[in-house]
């Protein structure tokens, strides 16, 4: 009964999305007021229907309805309640439903926020969002229906993949998708502007908070995924340049460029076609990521089950959405010229370099991710691309960006005036170099040639970011949230650079075979293996190891790694045991029983690795802070065009 209701709700949602799309675009186009007015009810109705469908699926999971194929494939009677709910997004069909729910939620949020926007423009935005919703709902109903039934019903379920039975799973996909999907809003704003034939500084100001919010969510989602991989997968690695990871990283890079480009368009009415293109590209990369993960064209650790039929559908959808948007762009962008000027040392210059370098970074990741596919399709043979390509190639664009950041923050709009800032910049650079090299050579022992460079750049960014706000604070000047947010975000980046440099340069790894009572020295710590015991969990059996860690004789912690055997899926899952001591992450994982009480054990010491995720959180907080600035909640504007830059496109 419930699954049928859910299925029916999805069908209704599809119809409502179709209406939302049709009225949203045709209404303003043809000047039909009644059609335009129908958009908001369509949005509300679609959201209610999608929420209903999600509710029905959750209820099927909680109620252990194994006549629903998706539930039977991803749940089990012994599965704890918490995971029965989060199993909703554990596989392809359910995660798509989550996508659609979040898109509907963003659409509702935009509808509420749209009270401040001109009506016709807002209607168009909602119309474009309707097109996206329609596409995804159609895809779901046609190829990935989560409500398909099993006849006869399964006696019990296949259980959720044990790797996914983890608290981080509860939050990683929803947060990640919130960001991923959120770029649809910027995309819709861009398409609406192109349909209107008008893009001005006002438009940029409307778009900024939505974009920054999506960007912050996506960053948090990526960081969560990395954190989860670190402690769950047992390798102690946190980033593998895996295609699915890259699929979320590319939109984030493009989104970062977009956030900055919007700032220029907002402040100076410049870079309009750049900003437009970036808004299209960011969401296109989101959609492309969805395609890559679900169509079987790429080899990845955690892509969903491959299905070429789905791939074709998504590809067709991509052609319509992205092809359509880029056609609009080719038509409208030439009219967006402005005649404002700026000099080489101006902030606009630095943001231009920023745009270019971030786009190159995204293109690099793109090339590496798609290289196997491109090579195969063009008959150039099978290729495989991993960290040994991505790490150095990514640096090519990132190093210049990090070096220019501190300068750019201090450059004035239009005229730079970096000469006046020379003392501040030089002082902060010298302090950073001293501190950086001091840490690298004093606390640690050298490392790679890029290690002191990375450390110096990271510290410099933090110091340079603090210089101006501290100065303003000292002089009792105002510190609006947008400035604070920007400062915080840049500090977050500096922290991330410091953390990444440290982890990449000074990680110590050792795989050893230890007998009961045997110990080994790794770094400054001694690890003593104290044997294993048998344990039992709610739906698994486990072997728990005990490892006592000391430092120069003084006890630090007792770590308890486990190897779990889940009853249903027969998969052995490692539970690493992690402890943070003086900023070092101590990670221990159980390997294999080598017989006679000997076990193979993996020990890793990763200094400052947790700072990476903290840093991303700081960046996201900075973004959130900036997005909540009062200037974005300005009073509703009238229909007439305001804006200073010359060269407004004709309607």
């Amino acid at each position: 009964m419930l699954p049928e209701l859910g299925h029916f709700a999805l069908i209704l949602a599809l119809l409502l999305a179709g209406l939302q799309a049709f009225f949203g675009i045709a209404g303003p186009l043809l000047g039909r007021e009644r059609w335009s007015a129908a958009v908001v009810p369509a949005v509300a109705g679609q959201f209610v229907m999608v929420a209903t469908a999600v509710g029905c699926l959750v209820a099927s999971f909680v109620g252990e309805d194994f006549s629903v194929r998706y539930v039977a494939e991803n749940s089990n009677s012994a599965l704890p309640l918490f995971y029965r709910v989060t199993a909703l997004w554990g596989a392809h069909e359910g995660s798509l439903l989550l996508w659609i729910l979040l898109l509907a939620a963003w659409t509702v949020a935009v509808t509420i926020g749209a009270a401040r926007l001109p009506r016709r423009f807002a209607t168009r935005v909602l119309g474009v969002l309707g097109v996206v919703s329609f596409g995804f709902l159609l895809f779901t109903l046609a190829t990935s229906d989560p409500f398909l039934r099993l006849d006869p019903p399964a006696a019990d379920g296949n259980d959720l993949n044990p790797i996914l039975q983890d608290p981080a799973l509860a939050v990683h996909p929803p947060i990640l998708y919130t960001g991923y999907v959120g770029f649809a809003v910027a995309f819709a704003f861009a398409c609406a502007a192109m349909l209107e034939g008008r893009l001005d500084q006002e438009w940029a100001r409307w778009t900024r908070p939505w974009t920054t919010a999506a960007w912050a969510f996506l960053g948090c989602g990526i960081a969560l995924g990395s954190f989860w991989a670190y402690y769950e997968l047992g390798w102690g690695g946190y980033w593998f340049w895996d295609p699915v990871e890259n699929a979320s990283f590319m939109p984030w890079l493009a989104g970062t460029a977009l956030v900055h480009s919007l700032a220029v368009t907002d402040k100076r009415g410049l870079f309009k076609s750049w900003t437009l293109l970036l808004a299209i590209v960011a969401f296109s990369l989101s959609m492309l990521g969805t395609f890559l993960v679900r169509s079987g064209v790429l080899v990845s650790v955690h892509s969903f089950a491959a299905d070429p039929a789905r791939g074709i559908f998504i590809l067709a959808f991509l052609v319509v959405m992205i092809g359509g948007a880029l056609t609009l762009y080719a038509w409208r962008a030439p009219l967006l010229r402005s005649t404002a000027g700026f000099e080489l040392g101006a902030r606009e210059s630095f943001l231009l370099f920023n745009n270019i370098l971030l786009v190159i970074a995204a293109a690099t990741v793109f090339a590496g991710t798609l290289a196997p596919l491109i090579s195969d399709s063009l008959g150039l043979g099978t290729l495989s691309v991993g960290p040994p390509y991505f790490n150095p190639s990514f640096m090519v664009s990132m190093l210049p960006l990090l070096a220019l950041l501190s300068l750019g923050i201090h450059a004035g709009w239009k005229r730079g005036r970096l000469g006046a800032k020379r003392r501040v910049l030089l002082t902060t650079l010298v302090v950073a170099a001293v501190l950086g090299n001091g840490v690298v050579f004093g606390i640690y022992s050298g490392g790679h040639v890029l290690t002191p460079v990375g450390m110096t750049l990271g510290i410099w960014i933090i110091l340079a970011s603090l210089a101006d706000p501290l100065d303003r604070w000292r002089r009792r000047l105002s510190l609006p949230r947008s400035v604070l947010g920007m400062t915080l975000a840049h500090i977050g980046l500096g922290l991330a650079v410091i953390a990444l440099t440290t982890v990449q340069s000074f990680t110590v790894e050792r795989d050893v075979a230890l007998a009961n009572g045997g110990s080994t020295r790794v770094g400054n710590y001694d690890f003593r293996f104290d044997g294993v015991t048998a344990l039992e969990g709610p739906n698994y059996d486990a072997i728990g190891g005990t490892v006592t860690v000391t430092r120069n004789g003084a006890p630090v912690v007792v770590l308890k790694p486990e190897k779990r055997q889940y009853w249903v899926q027969h998969q052995a899952i490692t539970q690493t045991s992690i402890h943070i001591d003086r900023g070092n992450n101590l990670l221990v994982a159980l390997g294999d029983d080598l017989g006679a009480g000997r076990w193979s054990i993996r020990i890793q010491i990763r200094p400052l690795v947790s700072l990476i995720w903290l840093a991303v959180l700081v960046m996201a907080l900075g973004g959130a802070l900036a997005a909540s600035d009062r200037r974005y909640r300005a009073l509703r504007v009238t229909e007439t065009v305001t804006g200073t830059a010359a060269g407004q496109p004709t309607g």
């Binding site: 000099e343 370099f353 290289a371 495989s384």
Partner: protein, 149 residues
């Protein structure tokens, strides 16, 4: 051919995912010298496990990976160079086994892409800045902090 290959992929995957084994391996191979250990570690991290999706030989729990690690160990102990090991593996499994694509005519585009894009970016940046600086010439007004002119 297609169906068989597809089934093979599923079987290979199933062997990993549903097999009675952990998602990773702890490789406790000890080489006699630190230099050999470093080379062994580097090579096993650089070569792909052929039965897994995106795992290195060093981390893969499947038997084939263990066997291949053994081959690498024996080759290093026999005095072979890193290039010999790579050539051996590529000669049997193709370029796909390398995580680092080799630099040749077929992969040059990939390796040169970042540098080429950087050059292109520099050219674009130069053009834009030159144009905007020229536009600035006829505009003597200063700007305030917020960028309003």
């Amino acid at each position: 051919m297609r169906r068989g290959a597809g089934t093979l992929a599923i079987v290979a995957l199933a062997a990993v995912l549903l097999g009675d084994r952990a998602a990773y391996a702890v490789d406790t191979t000890q080489m006699p010298t630190a230099e050999l250990q470093a080379r062994y570690s580097a090579l096993t991290h650089e070569l792909r496990c052929m039965q897994c999706q995106n795992e290195a030989l060093a981390d893969s729990p499947v038997q084939l990976a263990a066997d291949m690690r053994g081959v690498i160990r024996d080759m290093l102990l026999a005095g072979k160079t890193d290039a010999d090991v790579r050539a051996y593996m590529v000669g049997r499994y193709g370029d796909f086994i390398l995580f680092r694509p080799r630099f040749n005519l077929r992969t040059a585009w990939l390796w040169l892409a970042p540098g080429a894009l950087l050059l292109l970016g520099a050219v674009v940046a130069a053009r834009v800045v030159r144009r905007r600086t020229a536009l600035l010439a006829g505009d003597p007004d200063p700007v305030d902090e917020e960028g309003r002119s």
